[in-house]
């Protein structure tokens, strides 16, 4: 790490810290300039950026697949469409500049205020779509943004950011409203995260990165791992449910953090579910194959997933493990007896591998889902296939998840816009369980501070009540409430 002496010679800054200061000072200037933009100017910029991102969806998807070796390029095209067309569709009519609402009755006027420079950490699994998504919601809220590209997807992430920046400038956005780090390293991210000029960190990535964001002292919205349990109830349409799970878990080879991780069913129904998965070209591992897959899928020391299998198709993973599932197998299923560190496949695996649990009854199945949810994905997403509304509501009450998806492929369902009316987002709030302030899908509205101008209004009940009575120790709650609420 190069160290540079500041002129004051008081402190020695690393090269990264010096350059970080420069990036942030440019970003701060951009924030000041952006503050003057009207809604119309802002919307013009956002539309132009969305258009350019959309028009480059295929090229960027191919670049991402080629550079990272992860996933399926056709699916990455769809992710780029979600991140541009559907995100734009969500936010295009949203008021994000100036007065948002004025209520004469209450006397409260709400005024939007941008946050300031946003530092966006991008995951390798969605390297171009997340860039475009975060840029669009930042620009819509008139915040400059600094992109931290993932080390293994530098080229495609920076290309996405560059295209967006050119499009923004073309629409008269402030210079430096979009910047990106020239390198990706812990030193760089730490140098930026800890700068006082950063208003918010939007962190999407591994647990370590998200934890670093929260530890930096800068406000952060961080999204870490999910561990999506899928309960298939006996009231579900089985063929539909299995087909839906397969389409979701194979989407981009399972790289979406909201993708299904474990199937949970009641024992009485289990053999039907097994047969349906097999009929739809999935493969149940025997005990020996289960051990072999576990050995390649999970790092035995850290207990986390092995990056080498992330976003890989079944045939590649099978080859790595030395097993021979039937040709054309879509998903590998591992039958497990428990949840936790002793059962490594019960955690998050971003590849077409699913855990499978057969439970004695409904209560035990729900308890297994609770265990999966709390083991490694608290606050994130849970999924249920059922047509019994009572079971759906019970499941919804029990899960600690920002999104409980019903009869929906969870990969595409959680990000919103296709199968439901959730806000389309590549940053899924995970609530307090995931150390977030919200369980919502993050969008432009989360990147604004809302000021409330409160005009004087008289609370008649307060003024009618003689405050001297409060000094009387004999005044009791019921009497006070009765007089306070008296309507005459």
């Amino acid at each position: 790490m190069n160290k540079i002496n500041e002129s004051s010679a008081e402190s020695i800054l690393t090269r990264e810290q010096m350059l970080a200061k420069d990036i942030i000072s440019k970003s701060t200037v951009a924030a000041g300039l952006f503050n003057q933009y009207t809604q119309e100017q802002t919307d013009r910029i956002v539309e132009n950026v969305a258009r350019v991102g959309f028009n480059n969806r295929v090229r960027l998807a191919r670049m991402a697949r080629e550079e990272t070796g992860l996933g399926v390029w056709e699916h990455k095209v769809l992710k780029n469409v979600l991140a541009t067309q559907l995100v734009f569709d969500n936010i295009k009519n949203e008021k994000t500049v100036g007065i948002l609402s004025r209520d004469e009755q209450s006397g409260i006027t709400e005024i939007a205020q941008p946050l300031g420079p946003i530092f966006a950490i991008i995951p390798m699994t969605n390297p171009t779509s997340t860039v475009m998504f975060k840029i669009l919601i930042a620009l819509k809220s008139r915040n400059p943004i600094i992109i931290s590209p993932p080390r293994k997807a530098m080229k495609c992430s920076i290309e996405a950011a560059r295209l967006c920046y050119e499009a923004a400038l073309e629409a008269d956005a402030p210079e430096d409203c979009i910047q990106w780090l020239p390198e990706s390293s812990r030193e760089w991210t730490h140098a930026i995260m800890t700068q006082p000029g950063i208003a918010l960190i939007l962190a999407t990535g591994g647990t370590g990165m998200v934890k670093a964001a929260y530890s930096s002292g800068t406000p952060a919205i961080g999204v870490g791992p999910g561990n999506v349990p899928v309960f298939i109830d006996k009231s579900a349409d089985l063929s539909f449910a299995v087909s839906s799970v397969i389409s979701s878990k194979t989407f981009d080879n399972g790289t979406v953090c909201a993708s299904e991780q474990a199937i949970v069913v009641e024992q009485a129904f289990a053999s039907m579910v097994r047969d349906e998965f097999i009929r739809q070209k999935c493969y149940f591992l025997n005990a020996d194959e289960n051990r072999k897959i576990q050995a390649v899928a999970v790092d035995s020391e850290s207990g986390g997933m092995n990056p080498a299998i992330v976003g890989q198709p079944v045939d590649v993973i099978a080859k790595m493990a030395g097993i021979n599932p039937p040709e054309g197998t879509k998903i590998l299923l591992a039958e497990l007896e428990g949840v936790g560190k002793d059962y490594p496949l019960s955690g998050e695996v971003l590849a077409p591998i699913l855990a499978f649990y057969s439970c004695p009854n409904l209560d035990e199945a729900l308890k297994t889902c609770i265990d999966l949810n709390y083991f490694a994905g608290v606050g994130h997403t849970a999924s249920i296939y059922a047509n019994d509304e009572k079971v759906v509501e019970t499941f919804g009450s029990l899960m600690n998840a920002g999104r409980v998806l019903v009869n929906t492929p969870s990969s595409q369902g959680a990000v919103g816009g296709i199968f439901n009316t959730l806000l389309t987002s590549f940053t899924l709030g995970c609530g307090a369980g995931g150390k977030n302030i919200t369980t919502e899908n993050i969008s432009a509205k989360h990147l604004l501070n809302i000021k409330r101008v409160c005009r004087r209004r008289v609370n008649e009940r307060w003024h009618r009540f003689d405050p001297a009575k409060y000094l009387d120790e004999k005044l009791e709650w019921n009497t006070a409430m009765s007089e306070f609420n008296k309507n005459y």
């Binding site: 209560d363 609770i370 709390y374």
Partner: protein, 108 residues
């Protein structure tokens, strides 16, 4: 109030609770549970088979702080690992999980 049974071979004392375990119901239970645990903990059990206490919550739909206090009281007498909570329904399981007591109470 509740049922209890003792299995001498397993040196296990099982309490079977049901319904709403609110403060009003738990307060009088606490002393009874304690005296039964003390009585059996004093048995001349083999050293390799310390007393285990099992709380069967099959019919329980609510637990209060007072019930947790009973758990803690028993736990102090039999040590972690020897108090087992069994047959809890999903909502009670979630309550115990959120309370952070799942490992101490050995929820099965």
């Amino acid at each position: 109030m509740f049922e209890s049974k003792y299995d001498q071979d397993a040196n296990t004392l099982t309490f079977i609770f049901s319904g709403h375990m609110d403060s009003a119901r738990c307060m009088p239970m606490a002393q009874v549970v304690e005296s039964k645990v003390v009585e059996h903990a004093g048995n001349s059990a083999p050293i390799n088979k310390p007393l285990k206490v099992a709380f069967d919550l099959k019919g329980v739909d609510f637990i209060s702080s007072a019930f947790i206090r009973i758990c803690m009281m028993v736990l102090a007498k039999v040590k972690t690992g020897n108090l087992i909570v069994q047959n809890a329904g999903p909502f009670i399981k979630k309550t115990i999980k959120i309370s952070g007591l799942e490992n101490q109470l050995m929820v099965l």
